[in-house]
């Protein structure tokens, strides 16, 4: 049986791309990550595979494109169904999807409201960011991972976004560990997993990128 060709159109700093790579690693799948130059010029393949949004990640399974990271992670989980990322029962899956949706709607935008601010970071933006993290911390509770004892879907959706937290902390003048110690411990646990460690860049590198991006946007 010929091996399926798995390709991700990628950008190293995109937390959305990281989600897909972690899911593939968790499933023990080999894939090719094609780096896209999002500033210099997007490839023809990217523009034709994702004509509506023209964004990364795009996942190509034997040439068939899939877009939107949460949808791609679901697809990977359903197609390679051993070591499932979602719980077996319908209610558990609904809960996992709810928190993935919450993370998608809230976290990256809240980060952006801080790292994109010109001058002094608004107090409201910092307050909102911490409130969102506290809600996630409450959902985590005393569990090892978001869905009990197994690293899964919600963890994969959230952990890449935390690689941007250092930049948010530096620019916003706040500390996630002080405000949300349980969440901070969960972050450390996840980063110890090989599937995550080999994908998530060092926070300092992301911070350098954010500073460069701020200059590009004329914020600094």
């Amino acid at each position: 049986m010929s091996k399926a060709k798995l390709v991700i159109l990628d950008c190293w700093v995109s937390p959305f791309c990281m989600r897909v790579k972690i899911a593939l690693n968790e499933k023990g799948l080999e894939y090719e990550a094609q780096a896209e130059d999002l500033f210099g010029g997007k490839s023809e393949l990217l523009l034709s595979s994702n004509p509506i949004y023209k964004k990364v990640p795009v996942f190509l399974h034997d040439g068939k494109p899939l877009c939107e990271s949460t949808i791609i992670v679901n697809y990977i989980d359903e197609t390679w169904s051993s070591l499932p990322l979602l719980p077996p029962c319908s209610y558990g899956r609904a809960q996992a999807r709810f928190w993935a949706d919450f993370i998608d709607k809230k976290v990256f935008d809240a980060c952006g409201n801080i790292w994109r601010s010109k001058g002094e970071v608004p107090v409201e933006a910092k307050k909102e960011f911490i409130e969102i993290l506290k809600q996630l911390e409450e959902a985590l509770g005393d569990k090892y991972y978001f869905i009990g004892t197994t690293f899964g879907f919600v963890d994969i959706i959230l952990i890449p976004l935390t690689s941007w937290f250092f930049a948010v902390e530096k620019i916003g003048g706040l500390t996630v560990e002080a405000e949300c110690p349980k969440l901070s411990n969960w972050m450390k646990r996840c980063l110890q997993r090989e599937s995550v460690a080999k994908v998530v860049p060092p926070p300092e590198k992301v911070y350098e990128f954010v500073l460069m991006f701020r200059k590009m946007l004329g914020i600094d």
């Binding site: 509506i52 679901n74 209610y91 899956r93 999807r97 919450f102």
Partner: protein, 219 residues
Amino acid sequence: MAGELVLLDFWPSPFGMRSRIALAEKGIPYEYREEDLRNKSDLLLQMNPVHKKIPVLIHNGKPVCESVIQVQYIDEVWHDKAPLIPSDPYQRAVARFWVDFIDKKIYELGSKIWKTKGEEQANAKKEFIECLKLLEGELGDKTYFGGESLGYVDVALVPFYSWFYAYEKCGDFSIEAECPKMIAWVKRCMQKESVAKSLPDQEKVYEFILQLKKVFGIE
């Protein structure tokens, strides 16, 4: 399996309509409870403490929030009747993509059409029509987005039809003139009892929008 089912809802909500259609398609009995969004019930606040929004589907006392999650849940639990979500993982991912596109675009652009005027409204109308045309492209020559039967994308999109008249009156344009295939698809959907009885009358929705405009002080 059925147990006790309650849907906390608000009659003009296109999101609530999605769950109503899914439950009706599968012939599942449930209790519909109308919420007054200016005075939310304790039950709503307790069942959806994070967003405090409708719809909330309560199954044997346990809440499921967010309409697209509810439709997926309903489809999984009552999987033996009228399946909505494709069984093939790739087709399923494509359907999820379009439902996500509808969620990102249609409600927000529609809201801009009735809430704004001038250039902002004109831009919203233009983009709204562009989105409908993209959806027309995805529909192609199929009877429904789901093929021969109603599917996930149909259930996610058709509720917005109940707001089309309001958008047209506020925006002074005709959706049918711009997107005839979309309206033809809507009419096919409306022939299904599950859809027809889940959508409110368009004139009623328009009256509701006019009330909202008064409350928000929008001309």
